[in-house]
């Protein structure tokens, strides 16, 4: 016999999902078959999807997002794990303070983070000043693809490592003390306990952080938009930036919707591949 009570409790969340995500997704899918600037609208079938195949800027943005994911996620994981290990054995107040300090940047608006780092990566900014102090020539960070993407990576990692640190540290602290003590009794060193006992135990948490980090990198918009504006010539642009530009600057909302559908498909496929790889 089906019990209605659990579904009644699920109803608000389900309604919220449908209204905020499900219905818009369907409408975007529908819009992708039209050519519209919201003043004049006409049905064009698959023409938008055919146009995407020849849209070099959008294809470049897809490659950029994949590259961002490869650059950002490992740094997020290594940073979060490293900081977590540093405070794992510290007194509680130190751990709590570390959580606070590393999480605070995440609370700032993305625009603020991007603008602050843009100021720091300016030719006469703090980063070049620090490089100059150790005898390195100043770099024009924001006008070359590699350095511009690196700047975005640094901005994202600095703002998000705190979030993943909270997840990873929580997972580390949840490792049963008995296993750690048993390893110590067996003669494992401090480093061996961390490498051979704690790290394998937190692999699910690391997997979750990697998935979240990848999804975030693939959908990134405001940090790249306000730090590099996609310069040079789309070399650091993301899919979301291209979609916003196509829709709201070029006025091609149908094409932007089609690109949105493609973006959802790519991100969904990557998430699925990752879940399958984890078994």
């Amino acid at each position: 016999m089906i019990k209605p009570l659990p579904y009644l409790f699920l109803l608000p969340a389900l309604l919220g999902f449908l209204l905020s995500l499900g219905v818009p997704l369907v409408l975007v899918g529908q819009l992708s078959f039209y050519q519209t600037d919201y003043v004049v609208t006409r049905f064009i079938g698959l023409a938008n999807y055919r146009a995407i195949l020849e849209d070099r800027a959008f294809i470049q943005s897809i490659l950029n997002c994949l590259q961002y994911a490869l650059m950002i996620v490992p740094l997020q994981i290594v940073g979060a794990v490293g900081v977590s290990f540093m405070v794992l054995d510290a007194p509680k107040r130190i751990r709590d303070a570390a959580r606070f300090v590393f999480y605070v940047p995440h609370l700032a608006a993305g625009v603020v983070i991007a603008r602050t780092w843009r100021w720091m990566f300016a030719y006469d900014g703090v980063v070049n000043y620090a490089l100059g102090a150790v005898g390195i020539e100043p770099v024009e960070w924001l006008i070359y693809r590699g350095s511009a993407m690196s700047a975005v990576t640094v901005a994202i990692v600095s703002a998000t490592v705190g979030t993943y640190m909270i997840i990873i540290l929580g997972a580390m602290m949840a490792v049963p003390r008995e296993i750690i003590e048993a390893a110590r009794i067996d003669g494992a060193s401090h480093g061996q306990v961390r490498r051979e006992v704690i790290l394998p135990s937190i692999v699910p948490a690391i997997g979750l952080c990697a998935l979240l980090g990848m999804l975030g990198a693939m959908q990134m918009w405001e940090t790249a938009r306000y730090l590099t504006a996609g310069a040079p010539a789309g070399g650091s642009a993301t899919m979301a930036m291209d979609i916003v530009s196509t829709g709201f600057e070029a006025g091609k909302h149908g094409l932007a919707a089609a690109k949105g559908v493609v973006m959802i498909a790519i991100v969904g496929a990557l998430a699925l591949v990752k879940r399958r790889a984890e078994g």
Binding site: L5, L8, F9, Q35, D37, Y38, V39, V40, A57, A122, Y123, D124, E140, L142, I143, Y144, A148, T228, A229, G230, A231, P232, A233, G234, V244, S245, G247, F248, E249, A250, G251, K252, H253
Partner: protein, 430 residues
Amino acid sequence: MRKIAFIPTAIAAVVLALFAWTAYGEGRAEAKPMEIVVLHAPTTKIPENTIYKGPLKGGDLWTAALSQVRPDITVRKIAVDLSTGAAMTMDALVASGQAPDVYLDAAMRTAKYMVPGFALALDKYVGDWDDFFPGGLDAVRRGGKIYGIPWATWLTTMNTNTDLLARAGYEVKPGWSIEDFLAMCRKVKALGDGSSGTYLFAGNQSSDQWWMPWFAAFGARYYAVGDYSRNTLNSPQAVAALKFMKSLVDEGYVPRGAASNTDTEALTAFKAGKIATGSMQAAHAVGSGFRYRFVEFPRAPGVAPVGAAAGLTSIIVHESKDEARNKAAALVAWTMTSPEAQRLNVYIVAGSYMSRKSVTDKGLLNERDDEILGVMHKNGVLDMGITMPKFTPIRAMMFPLLQQFYTGKMSAEDVLKTYEANVNEELASK
């Protein structure tokens, strides 16, 4: 079990009660005045150098006038988000079915919406069109009907920081040439304090009137006179202009990072006193802590004087199925452009110039406005195609090319060839 069953029942009862109360309240709501929604470009503060000392801000004057004529109309204003230079706010409202009744913005953005069926043909709703300058009316006419009201004209030409130039030992003379300009840049750079002759940016598409006149300074044209069907920029003159702009970057006559710098950074640097020249409106320079003077752009030998870059601001009214709403919205739009509102709202608030012939109060204008208007009267207006319906998507096509050009990844010839192909493809598309 009874306790557990009570909780969801109680929640459901509260939710149902809330719905019922809301529906009952809506039913009992008294008839409200007709609300006309106005989406407008952000207003600026009243500059200090104005003659108006009254209590009303520019925007309030016309709403006060409106309330005397039609007290049954109220106006709700929404400001446009211009962070990308795009029509994002308007598009979002239209897409959600909440198109504003009245939309006031630069013609480069309103032009897209001047389409029969979307915009209201205003000919039969309001009158005294003869009071408007003909050029402004031409920009809002489609198929012989008038789909917008010219609100204001903004003008830009080259602004010069005369204090910085005096320190560098340079004075701008009328009719100055490209060589004179380069001599000025050398002197400013020689100061050695980080000051630059001018500013170039390609990081965003806004304020492109800052660098677009350089093409005219070398004799290139964006479009043939009166013909916006194809772009004509790709020319030896435009190649020379681009190479000149690149030389400014390579010689260090502009701040570093031209490929990624933005218009906000350009204006900030100018108002901080670090930049000797830059193209802008009079209103943009207000608050600068130094003396400045507007002059014409320098030009290459044999090239005609460069006109003031101009743009029109216009108002459109969204056509509704409710004729009463059409009449009310048309009246609101007309009141916004009344001579009294223009005298204060247009100039003092927006720092632009009037679109009506009858508003010629010289007392409103100051020395800086006279300088800019002087360039326009002497050299005419620079046609960048700003009133074209497709100006917004087209203007986004140059700055990515400039980014590659300034970093040496693209030649001037390739920039212009690619730009021409992209623009003409857009112009030919439906």
